[in-house]
Amino acid sequence: MTGREPRARLGGTGRLADDLYLLAHHDVTGRPYLQPRAIGIGLAGTLLAELMLADRICIWPDGVVAASRTPPEDGLALRVLDLVVSERERLPARDWLLFLARTAAQDVAQRLEQSGYLTQASPRRPWRAERWVPVDSDCAFAPLTRAQSALNPSRPATAQGAALAGLAAACGLGSRLLPYGPPGARRCLDEAVRQLPSGLRDLIAQTQAAVDAAVLTHRV
């Protein structure tokens, strides 16, 4: 231990899943805006997107494959890559989304705690599990502005911003994201997503399909 605790910064960690986690929870109370399974699937999508943006994995029509075995710096990203590399079968993105969704919220919350963005608080009721709350509400709100970068027609969207906004809308955060955007934000988002590489586009569509299927089967 160095004695220096990590501190939350407005600029964020630069990781998609961290931003989506903060976007999907209240910036003060940490209360989720979505059903648990939808958050899990959305975070699973961002974990895969992080590896895609870092050129570590690719999504082909027949499944997810490792593009490079160079270990990512982040421990969680490394564990996901290890799983993809070690899996015997070539699995479709949908299977990876559903598999990673089971533990993604806990994994990303722990990563955010290590980065100084979240802290564990006692549950409001004794029988409830411990909950995560943002350390700084401004830092927890900031991902919304980063996602908005993809909704502004006057500025070209970055791949990171478009992927964040696309995955956020895919898991059901559209109603949180779009009211803050300029007029025509939905069209702008669609256009920004269309400009993404095909693998990321496919991942966003698969994420939305998985969340929609969960809504339709009442298993969200």
Binding site: S86, W96, G172, H218, V220
Partner: protein, 498 residues
């Protein structure tokens, strides 16, 4: 995800996902929760005895169970090969064609909407009579219907998993009460003689061959909900086994419970008197089977919760259709959007608005809720489901005609052909005797307007399908895929329907 998980053996992802999937009991629970047995046993059966004046209802339940089992053979076989198999229009789109699929989608929406809204016509009077008897509150039926409507509207906008749990608890209690009433009724037959007359096939055509069409619609109305198992096909542990087993088990269970309950009512009141007794007692025909004690009180309370559960279940079915069609851009895209907590608020609110409008119109018109709202719209909803079952059977034949996909001739051709002929025949008989079904004269406007409304909706659907085909080919291409429309891809097993 722990380090141990990271070092997991190859193939473990598939195994982990399989552990999360649903087995037969969970799928069966989901199906039966929407069936709401007491709604049919206390609501539909006595009203059917009274309105139609026919006594062959117990036999009709058994015969329709066999016909639906034949239908289910091809239905569950095709479920294994398509996505979005929880919706009839997906079968029609992939089998007959996407234009017909739009038509089927709108007919399904109308059918389930009729079934849902009709339930307010039984909920209101049931709650009004309970409140008057036990609480001394004397309010009209529509006031209680509006209370139920408000609660369903709110629940529809809350977390959907809560409602599923509530439905399950109610189901268990309902089946217990119906079975107890049935046993008690059979133990006390009128005149001390246990008559099997209403179970005889001869009772199906007692007032001419057309009688069977009328009885069949009533029986199918009781079974509506059995077709919901494929909704969970993608979540099932073993779709080849889980969905068929749950479907057949549900059919068998519903047939025994309903045939038993309706037989017990006829036995207890006497076959010759059951129609008159039903007219006097209404739902009391069931509640009186076990005397007037605690069982009867429990049954009357559960009747209300059952109606409520059924209204909620059909509310969920309607928004599910609207949400899927909104996602596919067949209906306005706003219906396919979710708000906080992933609830499709727009779709849910549209169905609530429909319910409100119908309750208000019936209240202003002063029309009898039990006969003209509950039974008319309920049976018309059941009639719409028969049309969809017949169309789906044709779709199954067409789908497998292009590629048998390893299914044997019984599943892909013989059973669906038999089902299509039988169900189409029932639909024709029902149209010809719709007046008897509703308990009105043949020339009454309701006797032709209600079945004709399906023809109008079907034609609108065909027209809209053709417009989508020419003006929005991308939407048209993904039609029938439901949640998967967004991926714009057909699964490897997907059909090639035009």
């Amino acid at each position: 995800m722990s380090r141990q998980q990271a070092r997991t053996r190859p193939g473990s992802v598939s195994r982990a996902l399989a552990r999360d999937r649903l087995g037969v009991p969970a799928v069966l629970f989901f199906v039966l929760a929407g069936v709401a047995p007491l709604t049919v046993a206390a609501g539909v059966i006595p009203t059917a005895y009274q309105t139609t004046g026919l006594t062959g209802i117990p036999a009709a339940f058994l015969v329709i169970a066999v016909i639906l089992a034949i239908f289910a053979t091809g239905y569950v076989a095709m479920t294994r090969h398509i996505t979005n198999s929880g919706a009839f229009y997906a079968f029609v789109s992939r089998g007959i064609g996407r234009t017909a699929g739009v038509s089927a989608a709108l007919v399904a929406l109308q059918s389930y909407s009729f079934l849902q809204v009709g339930l307010y016509g039984a909920l209101g009077p049931a709650a009004a009579s309970e409140a008057a008897a036990h609480l001394g509150i004397h309010e009209p039926w529509w006031a209680w219907a509006l209370v139920a409507w408000a609660v369903i509207t709110v629940l529809g906008l809350l977390r959907v998993d809560i409602t599923g749990w509530v439905l399950g608890v109610l189901l268990t209690a309902e089946i217990t009460v119906v079975v107890a009433e049935t046993v008690s009724g059979l133990a006390h037959p009128a005149g001390g003689h246990l008559s099997f007359a209403t179970l005889s096939p001869a009772s199906l055509t007692s007032a001419g061959f057309g009688t069977f069409g009328v009885l069949a619609v009533v029986a199918v109305l009781g079974f509506v909900g059995f077709e919901q198992a494929p909704v969970l096909a993608e979540e099932a542990k073993n779709p080849r086994r889980t969905i068929p087993v749950a479907t057949y088990f549900a059919l068998g269970m519903i047939a025994i419970v309903y045939a038993g309950a309706s037989w017990a009512m006829a036995v207890h009141a006497g076959t010759g008197h059951v129609v008159a007794t039903a007219a006097q007692q209404g739902p009391g025909l069931l509640f009186g089977l076990g005397g007037s004690g605690a069982l009867s009180q429990a049954a009357q309370l559960l009747f209300m919760t059952s109606l409520f559960a059924a209204a909620l279940a059909f509310h969920n079915v309607v928004w599910r259709y609207m949400f899927a069609l909104g996602r596919e851009n067949v209906l306005p895209a706003a219906l396919g959007r979710t708000g906080g907590n992933n609830i499709p608020k727009a779709a849910s609110l549209v169905q609530s608005a429909t319910g409100l409008a119908v309750i208000v119109v019936y209240a202003i018109g002063g029309w009898p809720p039990m006969a003209d709202l509950f039974f008319w719209l309920g049976t018309s909803g059941g009639f719409g489901i028969i049309l969809l079952l017949a169309l789906t059977s044709v779709a199954v034949i067409a789908f497998f005609a292009r590629d048998p996909r390893g299914e044997n001739a019984w599943r892909r051709l013989i059973a669906p052909a038999l089902a299509a002929v039988l169900l189409a025949g029932i639909a024709v008989l029902a149209v010809l005797h719709y007046g008897t079904l509703l308990g009105v004269s043949a020339g009454d406007p309701a006797a032709w307007a209600l079945p004709a409304s399906y023809a109008v909706v079907a034609v609108i659907g065909l027209g809209w399908g053709l417009i989508l085909r020419t003006r929005r080919p991308r939407v048209y291409a993904a039609l029938g895929l439901g949640a998967h429309a967004v991926t714009g891809q057909l699964t490897p097993a997907a059909g090639e329907a035009a």
